[in-house]
Assembly symmetry: C2
Homo-oligomer: 445 residues x 2
């Protein structure tokens, strides 16, 4: 049983209290049942970033499946008098029956891109706010950083190894988000089990230290894991360790890992010595405090693969994507004929304003290269209609599209990410601070 | 059933793969059963910080209770050939039977402080590495930031409201860590249910927007939640909203919240108008992108309480504590008489070196004010023995001390935090970058 998919559990209280007090108060005024559209978007990218990468969409759908209020939750809400009887009755029966559309997971995005829209009654949609934002803000932050690292690594394999530097369950989501954005493996076993991501890892310094000599440690590792294992060189002295490694494992040793020091210089020295000893196919992995800039700086070094920890799981300086979930449209009072009009709504505060209304989004392409993020409110002009449509159906009348979840969802998101990044102008892959790679243009009609 | 305490689940695969390949290889060489001591410490504090706050200790103990390898986990490990039969047999029976000592949760710490030591066989202790570091690195990062915000807030109440800006389950741990370090409430309902932390929250801008007028929204909220509720003022125009609020709720309105704009100026204007209208007891809460510096800047403003989101759950610029888990001592080969000597061990790389050996730690006090973090390897000189002992028993021979877990653990950690911060010299509470408030002094004997 996985900690992520275990039996009787629910995501329903992973929420800010005000979602439920708003439910209560909207039942009071009768607005709880107004059809509403909430939209997830980011007002801006983190400073200097050229694009962001949507991630977590599949996990939102997985959590939506478990979004139920059980007896324990209802008792807690009643005991603390957070909501009254009518709201408790509503929550007891809660099933999301609305519609969710959004950017496919792995898609790139820009300021104002409508990443996800949730349509249902106000009550149905408001109680999902915190869960949806938590998942998307975290996973998108990690994937957006991971995508830059993938660009910096060129074709070299990248492994996510940051579990120990983030919350123990966030670590699983981080491994998944990094995989969406081009990482080829993770050290996290739960992520391997839950999402089918390849896992890797061999040994730490403690393994060398628990043995009386480095040679004994290497012998034990090769005996247990085979000659194609990766030996860690920098517990004592890298030169000595390298010679011992080849003596113990032979020239068919799989790889060596360097976890400290000046990685570029060390990699060159280690490569020269490995070649001198005849271990020409033994690979070099480096793993010490890497980020996209350090990876780029190693482009000319004879490094075969990278392991990235802290900086990928913490979003390389931007640990949250700052996405918001805003009511953009709702029905008004029904007229004499019983039908209600949709009303676009938005907060009017200058600093935190948002654009009301239902939206359409396409990526405009010119000879296969993206030139514009075009957002129509509610629709785009006819001559823009041949851009690539960005909003896909994720949940239709409560029916979740399972193809976006689980290991299959990750696989599809990886493909989407690779295709979408390939479509961007070359400036998008620059690491230097700059403007978003595409302008977001709003068309109101 | 809580998502955190649900039935058949386990924390065992929340781990880096190499912990298990090291287990496998150490069984090969016979070192798996050597008694070992692993130590958790930080080489340095985040740049400029005066002290850190240990948090997550209680959660480590809670997860340790569930650290079991079930049928699904073992099948995954076998299918992927991560370990062989002998290691699978060992993991099937795995129960931690060793001893854990450490700083009490809520305690402050400095570079080199031995925050936690795990003593058991190499096998028993190595498989816990990732889980322990994930929990402590995350929770300590949040508590260390939260403690600075508590200092900045003086006696004013602080609420944690950052759930939406971090992973959905990390959010629960973040709420808990903030509570340990002086926050008085959280918006996160799961944290309220799991750890007994007071929860709060009333409404967002969407609630105002789903109504035809702001007045109708306020009327509904007051009818549902009572006149002592907190009304959100900045959906349209703060002045108008304030007048409407008092007209609807009367002068006994509980509070108003401002979530955008120049908070200091706005708070002063709102306070003046509330007083003018006779609502002298109506409180003002501010909640827009606060961190410790913004809180300090509002010290002279008529603000009654703060809500902090992003910056507390992401550690105010330092989302991980960068704590490490290192083997510091282990038994050697047994001699002819069958007894084995303890051997201090340490990696000798210059940049990432560590101090081997079992340790004792006391905080030296002078007239009740802390003056030094004294670490003895293995013991302190006799004349330092009257400092405050920092290492407490958390797990003895596999028996977890339940007083450190659950809501009781949080309550004790809050007391420990308050007492330990009070004991620090005044410079420790400065927000400006500087050196650690206490020197860490190592005594070897």
């Amino acid at each position: 049983m996985s900690v992520l998919t275990a039996g009787p559990q629910t995501s329903a209280l992973l929420t800010d209290m005000y979602e439920l007090t708003m439910l209560q108060a909207s039942m009071q005024s009768g607005t709880a049942h107004r059809r509403s559209i909430f939209e997830v978007f980011g007002r801006r990218l983190p400073a200097g970033r050229r694009y962001g990468v949507v991630a977590g969409t599949g996990r939102v759908l997985e959590l939506l499946q478990d979004f139920r209020f059980g007896a324990d939750q209802l008792r807690f809400l009643a005991d603390r008098r957070i909501v009254g009887e009518d709201a408790l009755d509503y929550l007891r029966e809660y099933r999301f029956t609305g519609t969710v559309r959004g950017y496919a997971e792995g898609e790139v995005y820009f300021p104002g891109s409508p990443l996800m829209t949730v349509e249902g009654t106000f009550a149905d949609a408001v109680v999902l706010e915190t869960m949806i934002l938590s998942v998307l803000n975290h996973d998108t932050a990690v994937a957006s950083a991971a995508s830059r690292m993938s660009n910096a690594a060129g074709g070299r394999p990248l492994a996510e190894m940051g579990s120990r530097r983030t919350h123990e369950i966030a670590a699983v989501a981080a491994a998944r988000a990094a995989a969406v954005a081009g990482f080829t493996a993770t050290s996290n076993l739960e992520a391997g089990m839950a999402y089918g991501i390849p896992t890797l890892g061999t040994s730490a310094h403690s393994f060398t230290l628990v043995h009386d000599t480095e040679r004994q440690a290497f012998e034990a590792q090769v005996a247990a894991l085979g000659e194609d294992t990766t030996l860690l060189l920098d517990t004592y002295d890298v030169d000595t360790a390298l010679r011992t490694a080849i003596e113990v494992a032979g020239t068919r040793l799989g790889g060596v890992r360097i976890d400290s020091g000046d990685l570029g210089i060390q990699a060159a020295e280690v490569r020269a010595k490995l070649d001198e000893l005849g271990a020409v196919d033994t690979t070099i992995t480096v793993t010490s405090d890497l980020d996209e800039y350090a990876i780029a700086a190693l482009a000319a070094a004879p490094v075969d693969s990278y392991g990235v920890g802290t900086r990928v799981v913490t979003g390389s300086g931007h640990p949250t994507a700052n996405l918001v979930y805003k009511l953009v449209a709702r029905e008004g009072e029904p007229g004499p004929d019983g039908t209600a009009e949709w009303v676009s709504v938005a907060k009017t505060s200058a600093a935190k304003g948002s654009r009301g209304g239902r939206k359409q989004a396409v990526r405009v392409l010119d000879s296969g290269i993206a030139t514009e993020e075009a957002i129509g409110i509610p629709q785009l002009p006819a001559d823009l209609d041949d851009g690539r449509e960005l909003l896909v159906d994720l949940v239709r009348d409560g029916e979740i599209d399972a193809a976006f979840t689980g290991a299959e969802g990750v696989r599809r998101a990886q493909e989407r990410h690779a295709a979408s990044v390939a479509e961007l102008p070359r400036t998008a892959r620059r690491l230097q601070d700059g403007e978003p790679a595409l302008p977001t243009v709003f068309y109101t009609s």
